[in-house]
Subunit: 404 residues, 2 copies
């Protein structure tokens, strides 16, 4: 790489950063001189969260103690925080409840969807390219409900759905390649055959518009520790479209989902609305960290986030082409904007050694074994200079670590 | 109540507090002049937890970010913290994993127990006096596995277990009355008929010796926000006896329970040992708050906790008999030590108004509808003067609120 082109790309990055309307949000986060491109695994700490959590722990728990279930709004946190996430994924209020892990929510959603589908529908289509936990949990659900799992590439689903299909479980963005699946098209094809669409939004929520209500998605799950910056292992969420709530029949009907939880009656009667998706006592510390973290979205339009995300990944790919030695890395992330999430995945034969060295030099992405370098772009706190520096350091590392 | 007897009881309380070897642990907690008798619902804040959590949030999450999964020991927290709980419930290392809510762990345990029982055993005995979530979840599990629920008083279980019994799910201490069930006897009776014993330790762990290994319990669950002081909604735990681990077949086989979770292979292969009970990404903030809170148990023998707990509840009952107007409250907590947990439950026709006024006057217990006043005794931070004051204020409140 010539000094001339380095100068050109750094200048271009500076120009893009100066014109970036979202750049001002970076100061809301606790950052250092690392280029942090792993916010698609663990979002960075919003700078105001430590003080908020100190209050939660010291005053709400330490002083108010049990009274905080009412006085600090702990009891209603799962629905309240669900309504904070709702606009980011295109859902009206009252359809999202926060709690449990993504895996547990996949179980609720898949079992409940088989019950909503009913009748003779005995097949569950599962995204064969999915993050594995979805497949493991769907297989367990199918084993318990007597359904058959049909693994498919999401692109094949519209052609494969039949009158036997109960539902499809699909990842909106492939965690490995960063491919954005066709949520509107796949959902419409499922509906045309009378089947339900269950979407996993882990790698899309907070990075791009999802449009759950607009596209008629039936059920959805997602995590909150990636683009939503809720903190390590922050609770996941469950979306149940309003039209399905009255018939939503959870396989995990814990006391928190009861219509009268403090009646403590031996008979179960499900709550109305989103609380029906609750299970046990919510993990308040993790949950209120998420609630605080969501403040960074105040005044942010997800459409603007999407535009910057695409500009960032475009620019990063351009810099990689310029800086990386010929033939050493190949992007497995789609070029087409309509098919790209908010990450770039580069196949590289020396990926484990290269990622370790990148991290050592202050560029943090992650490795997806055996050979994928994964770089996540979180538009609220990653800028174009970060993208240029990451690509430049990648080029240097590739020159320092010889091929095979 | 005469001034003479008040003086006698306050003097007796002072004498008991002065002789109390556990009294020194009170200073480990953030307390005020409230008499906090609701630690069986939400344990008080250990005073060192805020600083520990500030480090977790600001340094581990904020500075190390994704590296903390390895460098701060996040990934191994569920088993590591399980091993911290193990000695409190009489379990050897490697059998307890922390994570998810109690309800979710009941689901894992009940379904896995039906699979371990196998064969023609189609009945699940469920403690009819249980905290309701256990019954709701057991019913859901039974619906999915094709078993039949048989609700019984735990005392009836030894006479009811047959060759059709797969398992019994029993609460060690009744959340409402405070009755301690016969864990060794019920477990032995189940085993004699070839059935499994699944115990819920929510109201016993941290209050009295449980002896999971010694009594051959098969599976157990419990929460950590009561006597273990883990914080609001701190994660629950699952005990799987070592002899069952190889055949433990979870209905929630999330990626965290995979033998090679970062292999991210489409085929599921269960981890060995306690991690097989994991599901999804652990809620690290809630979990590390629990880990910090467990430090208060350093140097504490659970047998000493039990002895003080019984002395406290004995003394409280004695004071209530002395202070409460005749006929206004009736204890539903067993007199016999062998049948008593660490709480006192008083039936009172005016319970809602009485508890509200008690709280207003600085004595915090809780109400279990419709008519139970519940007072939990947490021996690490509740003393005999607290017990005397609580009974004295109760007497005053009962005189001020006339009988219905």
């Amino acid at each position: 790489m010539s000094d001339t082109s380095t100068a050109a790309y750094t200048a271009e990055a500076a120009r893009l950063d100066a014109a970036d309307e979202l750049a001002k949000h970076r100061e809301k986060f606790a950052l250092d001189d690392t280029v942090y491109l792993d916010g698609n695994s663990l979002g960075a700490l919003p700078a105001h969260v430590p003080a908020r959590m100190a209050d939660v722990i010291t005053r709400q728990w330490g002083e108010l103690r049990i009274r905080s279930w009412d006085e600090s709004g702990w009891w209603t946190a799962p629905e309240r925080i669900g309504d904070r996430i709702a606009p980011l994924v295109g859902a009206a209020d009252g359809q999202i409840v926060v709690g449990d892990s993504t895996s547990v929510n996949v179980f609720k959603a898949v079992v409940a969807a088989t019950r909503l589908a009913g009748g003779d529908r005995d097949e569950i289509l599962v995204d064969a390219t999915t993050f594995p936990t979805d497949g493991y949990i769907a297989a367990s659900a199918a084993r318990m409900t007597g359904h058959r799992i049909v693994p498919l590439d999401p692109a094949e689903m519209p052609g494969a759905v039949t009158g036997r299909t109960a539902l499809a479980l699909v990842n909106h963005v492939d965690y490995r390649t960063g491919r954005l699946q066709d949520l509107p098209g796949v959902t419409a094809a499922l509906h045309a055959a009378g089947a339900l669409a269950v979407w996993d939004l882990c790698h899309s929520a907070g990075a791009l518009p999802v449009g759950l209500d607009a596209h008629g998605v039936d059920l959805a799950v997602g995590c909150t520790y990636k683009y939503l910056n809720g903190g390590p292992g922050a609770p996941a969420y469950l979306y149940v479209a309003e039209r399905h709530q009255a018939r939503f029949d959870s396989p995990l009907p814990g006391w928190n989902s009861h219509a009268d939880p403090f009646g403590m009656t031996p008979d179960y009667r499900a709550a109305e609305g989103a609380p029906r998706g609750r299970v046990g006592t919510p993990d308040i510390l993790s949950m209120l960290s998420l609630e605080a973290a969501l403040d960074v979205w105040d005044g942010v339009r997800i459409e603007d986030v999407r535009a910057k995300s695409l500009a960032l990944t475009d620019f990063f790919l351009e810099c990689v082409r310029a800086y990386a030695p010929e033939g050493r890395v190949t992007s497995v992330t789609p070029e087409a904007h309509a098919e790209r999430g908010s990450q770039v995945a580069l196949r590289c034969a020396e990926a484990p050694a290269v990622m370790a060295e990148l991290i050592r030099r202050g560029v943090v992405g992650d490795l997806r074994r055996p050979d994928v370098l994964r770089f996540g772009f979180t538009p609220l706190y990653v800028g174009f200079a970060d993208a240029e520096r990451a690509a430049r350091v990648l080029g240097e590392v590739l020159r320092d670590i010889p091929a095979g």
